[in-house]
């Protein structure tokens, strides 16, 4: 297997709280890998350890067969990072932000200008290239953060909840951008608590909770293992119950006894997550 990232027995604790609990994970080169879980599941902590912002208490992280440490400059040149919070240089314009990143990544002058222009075109930010980043909308700031992470043409891109807090239209546009990045052959690691985002974008999804990955598969397999169809109904105790079925016939058969107070629908990842943890993702 051609694994670009290997995580071995990684443990991260904050005093008494275990954020990542002896986690093992391998990620294939060129894959779009999703980490799905509720707030506090340990997704961001894991990403921070992968990019060298946090040190694990124990365990090892290997990227491209090299141990990831805080001062591994070579590996840092191979990565692009989009953190959860907006971390743009607010006093700089869109274009200046990109040039600044290019300089930090030590791109030479000619390739630097070419790369900045390419990314402005790719992100459709060219018309507002001279606008200060602090004056951009939330969606535009997110877009700029994503292309900023591409400045060094990285092999691996870490996206920590890249669409949190932005409107549906912009989110869809960002999804298109991310798909475009996947088509460029990048390995993408995405954390999200948006079910539909993980389903739409990711080849492989890891369901994470309480610092552990408790299921890892494709979206399709995760759902089909549980049951392709879901019947959702209010029971006599006024609590929503879920039943999962492999065939629509079996599901319909089951609904006959439910007096009409039910929903019959396709199973989604939230059902998978809920079934394993009894806890909604959002």
């Amino acid at each position: 297997m051609d694994h670009i990232i290997e995580i071995k027995e990684v443990l991260k604790k904050y005093e008494d709280f275990t954020a990542v609990d002896h986690l093992n994970l391998n990620i294939k080169k060129g894959s779009f890998f999703g980490l799905l879980g509720p707030n506090g599941a340990g997704k961001t902590t894991l990403i921070k350890m992968l990019v060298g912002l946090l040190r694990p208490n124990s365990g090892d992280i290997f990227i491209k067969n090299q141990k990831m440490t805080r001062d591994n400059v070579f590996l840092k040149t191979k990565m692009g990072i989009v953190p959860q919070h907006i971390n743009l240089d607010k006093e700089l314009s869109v274009k200046e932000n990109l040039i600044f990143s290019a300089k930090l990544y030590k791109l030479k002058r000619d390739p630097q200008e070419k790369r900045v222009e390419e990314l402005l075109a790719f992100s459709e930010l060219k018309p507002i290239e001279n606008k200060l980043s602090k004056n951009l909308s939330g969606g535009m700031q997110r877009k700029l953060m994503i292309v900023k992470a591409l400045i060094n043409d990285p092999e691996i891109i870490f996206l920590d909840e890249p669409t949190v807090g932005i409107d549906v239209n912009t989110r869809r546009k960002i999804w298109d951008m991310l798909k475009g990045m996947k088509d460029m052959g990048k390995t993408i690691i995405l954390t999200t608590h948006y079910i539909e985002e993980a389903e739409y974008l990711c080849d492989q999804i890891a369901l994470m909770d309480k610092g552990k990955i408790f299921h890892l598969d494709t979206s399709k397999h995760l759902k089909s293992n549980l049951g392709t169809f879901t019947v959702e109904y209010f029971n006599d105790a006024k609590v929503t119950e879920y039943k999962y079925f492999q065939s629509i016939e079996d599901a319909k058969q089951y609904t006959h006894a439910l007096c009409g107070n039910y929903i019959l629908r396709d199973t989604n990842l939230e059902d998978v997550f809920y079934n394993f943890t009894n806890r909604k993702v959002r």
Binding site: D71, I81, N87, F100
Partner: protein, 243 residues
Amino acid sequence: MEVFTILWREFLFFKKRAFKITSSAVITPLLYLLAFGWGLGSNVSVEGFNYMYYIIPGIIAMSTMNTSFNAVAIRISVARLHEKSFEYYMTAPVNMYLLTLGYVLSGALRGLYAGMIILSITYLFGVYIKITFSFLFICFLNSMLFAAFGYFAAMTINTHYDMNRFTSFVITPMTFLCGTFFSLERMPNFLKNFIELLPLTHAISGLRNIALENITNHFSILILFMYFLAFYALGVYASYREI
């Protein structure tokens, strides 16, 4: 490479805020000059020198200290605690000791700029003091060491409010105690000995010796340089600890 990148970024910042930066760097020292120099001190002499001539080196040293400290301390603390843009440096392939040097140098240039503006103002008012290469070098070294101190301070605080500790307990006392406005000769010995350890004392006495007596005090330059090295090393250490 990192040094030039940071200088480029800070130059853009300066260009966009040139008026605000210049006016805020000028206003306090100008008020001191007006109040203590032309106001109170017009008929006073200290250590045999006209008071106006006496305080100008002190005010230049104080101004370079304040401007360089604030330029870096505010910039880094905002980037680190508010904008979170400092995190970006830590994930980029940068050498932290060069990044630190870039910020210290940019702060020092801001300090030197403030000092030169004060000097220009005194010239406009017809007060001419002697300027040599050593005078400018001391201004620059003083700016470098306080920019490095500002960087270190910004890297160690947990909230913006914590910065008050550094300004209240370090910067402000030095402004008033290190001989900016008066001679240290009548100070009690124990206090005088302590004040003579402080970097601003050496910056002020170094500048004053050149401006008033055309004497270059190499010992003060050495002390300032040692302070710079110490604060820079602390800043680099704090940067690596941040990762």
